[in-house]
Symmetry: C2
Subunit: 203 residues, 2 copies
DNA sequence: CATAGTATTGGAACGTCGTTCCAATCATGT
DNA sequence: ACATGATTGGAACGACGTTCCAATACTATG
């Protein structure tokens, strides 16, 4: 269903209703139920579409560390471009579309030389971190409807943090300025590197 | 609003409607709007309640590493007991209830001796990981309505993974057995330790 | 104590959503 | 040509969040 992806991309998650989709397809809402069982399946199919495209672009030959970074960035960029995908992956992490990501990450852990007992933990940490950032991006996209400025939103949060009592909240107070200026993508990658550094200690 | 928390705990997220809440309070749905602006605020207030209670129980004196683990576990346990809190924290991560958690984590990074430029990244990695697991738990709780067995659900996913082609999905195929037997809480903590190990390398 | 003014309540009503249902239409094999 | 099953379009249902407002409770003042 390409039409569904178009609606989601242009007008956001809440704009995808069976009525809106039926209107765009010039049909009735009942007809859509012949092709999908319910709204969950509709969203799952749309997300699967986007993820499959994102993962197919990831290079295969690189070093395991670089490959993990590439996969993670692929997921990040796909969700950055289509925030609703983040929410969907998050709601249904066991759906088939995720298996490719799981294997992409886990497979590189094998070639990284992580001992077997630790593989599951390392894999889980990476996947949970990636899903966490995915969900955060999706949540922010919902909170900041694409009209308003993301920078303005961050500035508002930072301002609120700066007004907190520095004695009670020294860290939050201090980190507010960095919140205002940080780059989401760089920071995401820094987190991946941090976890990879942790993984290297158990190797 | 304690009644809201009771409904959420006993019957899950989707059972909290203004009508259900009004019925339990023996009043009208309109009366509730005098106390909260909308449903978001209702959920935020309920989640704030639970988080504040969870964070107040966290000990203060321990070593920074232990303190971070304690805070993370406090959040984990609170969400394990009230899955709807995970979904709510996730949807609105900038809400006031989170600031205590943010400060609890970040403040210990200061005393851990993490150099200032890296503090933001380390903090972000921990927070995103914790929120990621929080959301996952919440998603699982929604997928596995408290009646059915969680073990049975995991076994079903594991069985699906085991039927995948081992040549194409070696890792996922192999990790299926560990998925069946793993302990969520231990694994969450293992992830925290992994990130802390990574943080130790930049110290 | 009486009364004006405000805070709070209870429940009807509105519009939207996911979903169901079914008569009408289309496609295909005989 | 026509019978059978696949597919469509749109009306209808029940539940939800929210709004609205007359009715009631409370509180300060004369």
């Amino acid at each position: 269903m390409k039409a569904a992806v178009e609606i989601l991309d242009s007008d956001g998650e809440s704009a995808l209703t069976f009525r809106a989709l039926a209107a765009r397809l010039a049909t009735g809402s009942g007809a859509i139920y012949w092709h999908v069982a319910d709204k969950n399946e509709l969203l799952a199919a749309a997300a699967s579409d986007v993820i499959a495209r994102a993962m197919s672009g990831v290079v295969n030959g690189a070093q395991p560390r670089e490959a993990i970074r590439a996969i993670a960035l692929g997921v990040f960029d796909a969700i950055d471009a289509h925030p609703w995908v983040g929410a969907q992956l998050f709601r249904e992490p066991w759906q088939p579309a995720m298996v490719q990501i799981f294997e992409g990450i886990g497979g590189r852990l094998l070639t990284l030389g992580v001992p077997e007992p630790a593989q599951f933990d390392c894999w889980s940490a990476l996947v949970n971190y990636i899903l966490g950032v995915a969900g955060q991006n999706a949540a922010n996209a919902r909170l900041v409807p694409s009209g308003t400025d993301r920078t303005a939103f961050l500035a508002a949060v930072a301002a609120r943090w700066e007004q907190l009592d520095p004695a009670e909240y020294p860290f939050v107070h201090q980190v507010a300025t960095q919140l205002r200026e940080h780059d989401d993508r760089e920071q995401f990658l820094a987190g991946i590197d941090l976890i990879l550094a942790g993984i290297a200690t158990v190797r």
